[in-house]
Structures are given as structure tokens and as C-alpha cells.
């Protein structure tokens, strides 16, 4: 028992800890990942904005040179394509981060480009929209230059426009910085997650260890009055649970005692009620010997000197008294409250005893009682008194149900290796279908007021079920009813070596 209990404790311990780790850890890791993602996106935007501002500043500085060159070329046409291209080439040489430069006039015609990759290649960087109203940027993957941060710089002074410069900067440094940031946040998230899981594991272990202790104590506790759970350290949460558990156990003990008292009273009440219903038959069984005794006493009084007759009559009186004693003993035996519920019952013997008690009443009503009880039945695991009470109640119900000349049958046989079945059936009025569902409820009766307590079947069911058996009814209205109950076989009988 303890091994099973402790195995359960271990399972509960592992399962609870695993759930705490799984769910709390999952939520924390998902939160960390989300925070990392948000941080990464925002940080990436900052990196891009910073790089964009830097290249715009460089482009604006370069645009001064370009404007100067454009104005010079404008004033001295002979120098056209010389000053501007030189400025572009110098710029490309001076800044390695610059991938390309192209200068276009307001109509979009290229004035200078660099570098020229091949003779027939259209210079790159002029594919963006030619906005002249501000500085524009974009980042894209160029097939020739890789990732490029392109700046589109209008070459304007006031309303005077000389065109626009498109300058492509290498954007790989941005990606490299984002990559480093990603790795940093990824590793940070992993480390924080690992630390969090370890802390969670320790907390969960500590919590479940306390719970395990409580469960172990609970498994160890028997609901025997006076047995307290083990004392724990005061102030501990588990100690509080222990205390509450102890109080609950005491309340259960009190309730159980009250229930046992109530059941005992119900059994007794039902038994007395049954005795009352048997009283007429018993009175008849007592009355006949008494009449015989009275006749014998009358004869002895008439002829006191007739010694032989007197001796004979005294013998008859003795037999009559013995007969009365037998009836009274049976009645007392039935009326005696059972002190214990354990025991073993010879079903055949006890069934016949009950039938004997009923013999007179059955004959008065000309009811035919058939006993079909196998002689080799093993004893049932039930106190004989309780068995007698069950059969008595069922027989009383059948007696009430059948009319004059009806028949009642008591059958007892072995059901299987483990149990016996006892059935009491009659050919009486039967039980309505709607009543069958309620027939085992306490105080439910179809008899007239004063004829029944409504407790008989309820008590029978309680007794049978408390012995691990089952009581059931089958009936068709107008065609009788059969009450059948299963009882376990007394195992000591099956295992004589025990």
C-alpha cells in the first residue's frame, strides 16, 4: 500500500514540477523572445537611421563639390564633362564605402557616373524616382554591388536645379551591425532563459517537496480516532495544511460515528417493524402449545391421582414449553441488534430458518413457498443476522404482494467463483416501471399508511452493498417481481490453508 502511495507521490512530484517548468518556462521564454524581437527591430531601425543620417551628411557635403563643378561647367562649356567627372572620380577614390555615383540633369540625362563596369552597362543608381523636392533614400540588394544604401540628392539652390546625384553606399556595415546585435540578443535570451529555468526548477523542487511530504503524511494517516498526522515545523505552509487535514479527519470521524448510530437505529426500527408484522404468526405458534398446556393442566387437575396420565401430560407440557422457547428464541435472535458486520453465513440453513418463521402466515394465506437452495453452497461473507434480515424483508414484501393461493420462490445458487446469488420471487401484482427506479430510496413505499416503513429495501441495499454485493429488482406489473442479491463468498472457506 505504501509502495503504491509513494509511487503516486513521485509521479505527482515529477508531473507538477514538469508542468511548472514547462508552462512557466515556456511563457517566460516566449516573453523574452518577443522582447528581444521588439528590441532588435527598434535597434535595427536606429542603426539604419544612424547610417542613413551619416551618408546623407556625406552626400550633402559632396553635393557642394558637385554644385561647384556644375556651375563651373555651366560658366565654361569647354570644361564640360571634365570637372564634374573628376569630382565624381575623386569622391569614389576618397571613400571606399561609396559603391557608385551618378549625376543626372533635370531631364534625367546622365552627366557623370562612376564606376563604369562595362561599356554597354547602363549606369546603376538611376533607377530610383527622380524626386527633386528632397533627399530620398532606399536600401536594396544590387546584383553588382550587393546591399546598397542609396541616397538621392537633388542638386538645387533655391528654385534653381542642376539635376540630382544618386550615390550608392555599401550597406553591408549595417547588416554586419544587425548581425552582431542579433547574436548578442540571441545569446542573452538563451542565457537568461537558462538561468530562469534553473531558478524555476529549484523553486518547483522546493514547492513539490513540501507537497510530497504532505501527501506522504496523508497516505500514512489512518482514519482511526486518536491518530494524528505528524507534527511539522510551525509557520510552514505545509504545517497549516497538515493542521487543516487533521481537523477534516476528525470531522469525518464524527460524521462516520453519527452515521453508524443512525444506521443502527434504522436497522433496529425496521427490525421491530418486521417483528410486529410477524407477530400474528408468532402468536399462533405460541398460542397452540399454550392451548395444549392448558388442556393438559385441566386434565391433570381433574384427575390428579392418575399418575400415569399426569406423567404423560407433564411430558406434553414440557414439549409445548420447548416449542414456545424455540419460537421465542428465534424471535429474539432476529430482534437482536448485530454487533458486528463480519461473519459467515450458511445460506441454506439461514434461508430455511426464515422460511420457518413465515410458515404459519404463509399457510394462513395458502401461499406456496418453494425453496430451491443448493446444499453444497459455500458460506456467504456476511453476518447471519444481517442475511436473515435481508431475506426476511424480501419475503415480507413478496408475502404482501401475492394474493391468496399465490406462490413465492426462494432460490440460492452459486453465481461464479466469487459470489453467491439469492433471489426471492413471487407471482404477485409486480412493481410499476416508474416505481422501480425509486424502490430503494429510504421511506419510499407503495403500501398503505401503517403497513410499511419504506425502509426495508433501503436497509437491504445498504447491507448488501456494505458487503460488496449488489441488490437488484426485475418486475413486470401483474406478473410478479424478483429481488436478487449477490454476496461474496467467504474466502476463508475457499482457502482452508489460510
Amino acid at each position: 500500500m505504501n509502495a503504491v502511495a509513494f509511487a503516486g507521490v513521485d509521479t505527482m512530484h515529477g508531473s507538477l514540477r514538469a508542468r511548472i517548468l514547462a508552462f512557466t518556462g515556456a511563457v517566460l521564454i516566449i516573453l523574452l523572445l518577443l522582447i528581444s524581437q521588439v528590441l532588435l527591430y527598434q535597434w535595427r531601425d536606429v542603426i539604419i537611421a544612424k547610417e542613413r543620417d551619416a551618408v546623407i551628411a556625406v552626400s550633402q557635403t559632396f553635393s557642394v563639390t558637385l554644385l561647384d563643378a556644375l556651375i563651373r561647367e555651366e560658366r565654361t562649356p569647354a570644361a564640360r564633362e571634365g570637372i564634374l567627372q573628376t569630382s565624381v572620380d575623386d569622391f569614389l577614390r576618397s571613400l571606399r564605402e561609396v559603391a557608385y555615383v551618378s549625376i543626372a540633369d533635370p531631364t534625367g540625362q546622365l552627366l557623370a557616373v562612376g564606376p563604369v563596369l562595362s561599356a554597354d552597362q547602363v549606369p546603376h543608381g538611376n533607377s530610383g524616382p527622380a524626386s527633386t523636392e528632397g533627399i530620398g533614400t532606399r536600401i536594396y540588394a544590387d546584383p553588382a554591388f550587393g546591399w546598397v544604401l542609396e541616397v538621392h540628392m537633388p542638386l538645387r539652390i533655391g528654385q534653381r536645379s542642376w539635376g540630382a546625384a544618386t550615390i550608392g553606399f555599401n550597406a553591408e556595415p549595417i547588416r554586419e551591425e544587425v548581425r552582431r546585435l542579433f547574436m548578442f540578443l540571441f545569446l542573452t535570451t538563451m542565457i537568461v532563459s537558462a538561468v530562469t529555468l534553473v531558478v524555476l526548477y529549484l523553486l518547483a523542487t522546493r514547492l513539490t517537496r513540501s507537497l510530497s511530504r504532505l501527501v506522504q503524511e496523508m497516505d500514512r494517516v489512518d482514519l482511526v480516532p486518536g491518530s494524528d498526522v505528524a507534527a511539522t515545523q510551525p509557520g510552514d505552509d505545509v504545517a497549516f495544511l497538515f493542521h487543516r487535514f487533521d481537523l477534516m479527519k476528525r470531522r469525518i470521524e464524527t460524521s462516520r460515528r453519527q452515521l453508524e448510530d443512525a444506521q443502527r437505529q434504522v436497522y433496529q426500527a425496521e427490525k421491530l417493524a418486521s417483528i410486529g408484522r410477524l407477530a400474528s404468526g408468532v402468536a399462533h405458534q405460541v398460542n397452540n402449545p399454550l392451548n395444549g398446556i392448558r388442556s393438559c393442566l385441566y386434565a391433570i387437575d381433574k384427575e390428579p391421582s392418575h399418575v400415569a396420565q399426569t406423567k404423560e401430560y407433564v411430558g406434553l407440557i414440557g414439549e409445548a414449553i420447548t416449542s414456545i422457547e424455540t419460537v421465542v428464541q428465534k424471535l429474539l435472535g432476529f430482534a437482536r441488534t448485530p454487533l458486528a458486520t463480519k461473519g459467515e453465513t450458511d445460506v441454506a440453513v439461514m434461508t430455511r430458518k426464515v422460511a420457518d418463521l413465515f410458515d404459519v402466515r404463509l399457510r394462513e394465506k395458502q401461499v406456496r413457498l418453494t425453496l430451491d437452495v443448493a446444499n453444497d453452497l459455500p458460506p456467504a461473507a456476511i453476518d447471519p443476522q444481517l442475511f436473515q434480515e435481508i431475506v426476511m424483508n424480501l419475503l415480507l414484501n413478496s408475502y404482501d404482494a401475492v394474493g391468496n393461493g399465490g406462490s413465492v420462490r426462494i432460490e440460492a445458487r452459486r453465481s461464479d467463483e466469487e459470489s453467491l446469488v439469492v433471489a426471492v420471487s413471487d407471482d404477485g401484482m409486480g412493481i410499476a416501471a416508474e416505481d422501480q427506479a425509486r424502490i430503494f430510496e429510504p421511506f419510499f413505499t407503495t403500501k398503505e399508511i401503517g403497513q410499511g416503513t419504506g425502509l426495508g429495501l433501503s436497509v437491504c441495499q445498504s447491507i448488501v452493498e456494505s458487503h460488496g454485493g449488489r441488490l437488484s429488482v426485475s418486475s413486470e406489473p401483474g406478473r410478479g417481481a424478483t429481488f436478487q442479491f449477490l454476496l461474496p463468498i467467504e474466502r476463508c472457506h475457499e482457502r482452508p490453508d489460510h
Partner: protein, 314 residues
Amino acid sequence: MHREPDQAHAIPRITRRWALWLIAVSAGLSLSTIVFYSIVMDVSQPYAVVVKGDAIDPTAASKPVVRIAVISRYPPTVTFRGYQPIMDYLTARTPYRFELLLGSDYAEALQHLLSGKAAAVFLGSYLYARERERADIIPILKPLNEQGEAVTRSVLFVRSTSTARAIGDLRGRRLALPSAESYSANWAVAELLPSNGLAEGGLAAVQNFAHHHTVIAKVLNGSFDAGITREHLIKDLVGSSIRVIATSVPIPSPPIVVRRTETPAVIAAIREALLEVGRDEERRRILTKDWDIEFVHGFAPAAAEDYEPVRRWR
């Protein structure tokens, strides 16, 4: 016969289940990390205007073009930065579209006016005074200085670290001059140097440069010991990197000049628009924030007589 599995070697079911979960979660996390990595590393961004500039005036293209020439007192880019906003203002305020026409030197700017390529010219005071008798030209406007007066001055300056405290200390040193057509250069050559005994061989070198800015740069970088330029151009440098050791008398500020035969409507448009600049102080400050510093205080009407002192001095 039913045979129980070998419990000693069988993996407990709960362990197998957790292991499967662990593998599934790890695989999911790994896959999502790879996908997320590829998403994050795609830094592509569509084209977007990030620094908004001034909108192009769509009505300007349909207006008749009027060109205004500028003498080459500054480098071309500096000239455009300081004068193009004035052209834009005139375009916005008049029925004409004004364009700058830069001269490669002072004479070419005047030639643009005389040939009719330009309707007006930002001329120097000395050049106007010299040419007014030969060409049929008239001044229409002259810029105001910070005190609201239509006068300017030329200055002789040295680096603040220079030991020269007076003009006499420049003997044997190098002097940078602006264009020979400018008032500043002529003031130095004709008046300042002779009156201080430095006219003939008193200096180690005297050289003219096309632009005032070049003169300032030459002195600041040590190529020359002193330079002559306009007072307002070094205003922000005086006290920090430049020290002024001589100043000319006030002369009328350089005029905007037109041919007498120029279309009166064009002359009136230029005159009215530029005179209006200084009428509202708050509006002037906003309007002229990108203008050449010489014109930010507005204009005053100019007349040929205003330049009589320069002509007489010449």
C-alpha cells in the same frame, strides 16, 4: 501467453512524451530563429524622401525669363547660395522668372548688362562709378547695412596672431587684394598704401585674387600676412581669428544697376519687390534668412549722385 515488456530497459512513457515535446519545441524554436534571422537581415527599405526640400514653384516655368548678372566678387557656388534666394523671391513676387547670370570677372558681368543678356546687374561701387560716364546705365537700388544706412566700408586685416598692429608694420610683408575692379583693391592701391609709405616696394608681395573669400582664406592660412576685403564679410571672424588694422571711409553700398533703356516694367518690378523687403522687420528676417549677408537688411533707392564721392575719389 501475455508477455510483459522489459520494464528495466523500456523508456518510461512520460519521459518519451516529454522528450518528444522537447524535440518539437527545440525544432520549432530553431526554425523560427532561422526564419526571424533571415527577416531581420533583410534590411531593404523602399525609396522615401527623408529630408524635405522647398517645393518647386510650378507657375515659374510659364513666366518670361529675366536675367540678373552678378560680378564675381565671390566664388560661383557662394554667389548662387547668396543670390539665388533673391531670384526666387523676385520670381515669386513679380510676373517674371529671374535667373542669375554669373560673370567670370567684374567686366564680364557689366558686359552681360550692356549686351542685353541681363536686365540688371549687381555691380560694385567702384566699377559703377567708373563706367557710369561711358555706359548708359543707372543705379536703382543699394543695400542697407545693419544700421540701416546704404553705405559700406573696406578693411585692412591681419590674423589675430600677427604682430602687425598698424599699417606701417606691414612693410616687407605680403598683401592679398580682391579684384582690381573692386573698390577695396583700388582703395588700398590708390590711397591706403601710398599714404603710409608703402606704395612702391614697401611690401614683399601684392596680389589680386578673383574673390573676396579667396583673400580671406589666403590670410587665414598664412599664405599672405594681410588682406583687404569688405567689412561685413569678416564681421564674424573679427576678435577670434582676424584683427582689423585699417578701415576706409564709408562709401555708398554696391548698386543694382540697369540700362536706362531697360523695360520700365521690369525695372519697376525689381525696385518694388526689393524695396518691400525691409518694410516689415519680422517678415524681413524670415524672408532673407538664406540671402547673401549684404542684402539681409533690405534696400534703399539709389541714384547716380550717390556715387559721386567714389567717382571724385577715383
